[in-house]
Symmetry: C2
Subunit: 159 residues, 2 copies
DNA sequence: TTGATTTAGTTGCAAATGAAACTATTATCG
DNA sequence: CGATAATAGTTTCATTTGCAACTAAATCAA
């Protein structure tokens, strides 16, 4: 093993390459859809998605749940606030913090995006049997644990 | 189906999100390794990888095989040529084209990177049984066909 | 209390990216 | 032929991205 001369690497069969290409293709497609139909970016959508589930969380919590970095959350949040989709209420007890939430308009967009996002996911998963889809999630979970052992997000089903 | 109010979307279970996060984590890690140990980028590595298998192909062919766009190939190739890892021989019959290939130094880097790349892939796949790894590739293939139906690259095992 | 440290969030900046425009060369078709 | 279209590859430019530095506020420790 690890004999330079003998080993072969075929890009098409190389897992990091395949993941990257697939993920890029999927991201591209879904980003186009979000942009075209709702005029939001993927990052804006991630924020709406977590706020839809957990209203009133802070920017830092949003960053943790979306795996975005803080500057990205800050910028995407600003534009969502400008557009009136998200509200920011600064915490009276700790004035560094502020609670983010969906406005009425934001909730409407959220409710509109959900079925489109799920439909696209279903489009992908239509190629797979339910058992295969289940297997895929398990495989991705195990790979993510290896690739990012510091993160335990993948197991969490409750908060 | 597609009832906005009833559907739920949990980011952690949403396939496009999971693919993106996993792919980013893997890419980050492997890019760090390439950078640290060989001082090359992922894109440079992709080019070395296809040239290692198919010497003398053109820039356009490299782009097709690595799924990079033409500017990206152009830039990564330039720096590889500057570093003396890749050679460019312009085609006498069609002077728009030129054949790219690995120099001796390039072949050495190629041979050195291969086992490290495979070792990292093995590190990921160590979480999976051989049957699971096989299943994973099949699942990725089917997803890629849905996400990029225009590409038939995933089936090709011969050139 | 006050000086040092930590935390929340924003801003600035340098590098990476991708689309479109551009150059040079070859192919097509009247 | 000669004009037009197509192709290979590079360059330009605007946008995106990720990191580091920064501001403001709270906590900790003497």
């Amino acid at each position: 093993m690890n004999d330079a001369a003998g080993d072969k690497l075929r890009l098409d069969n190389f897992l990091p390459y395949r993941l990257s290409v697939l993920s890029n293709a999927v991201s591209r497609k879904i980003a186009d859809m979000y942009e075209r139909e709702f005029d939001i970016s993927i990052w804006q959508w991630r924020i709406l998605a977590v706020l839809g589930e957990s209203d009133g969380i802070t920017s830092t919590e949003v960053a943790a749940r979306t795996l975005m970095d803080k500057p990205a959350v800050s910028r995407a949040t600003s534009s969502l606030i400008e557009r009136g989709l998200v509200t920011r209420t600064s915490d009276t007890a700790d004035r560094r913090k502020s609670a983010l939430g969906l406005s009425t308009a934001g909730r409407e967009v959220y409710n509109a995006v959900i079925p489109r996002a799920l439909a696209y996911e279903q489009e992908l998963l239509a190629a797979l049997s339910p058992e295969d889809a289940e297997a895929l999630h398990g495989l991705l979970t195990r790979l993510a644990q290896i690739a990012s052992p510091e993160r335990d997000l993948w197991d969490r089903r409750e908060d």
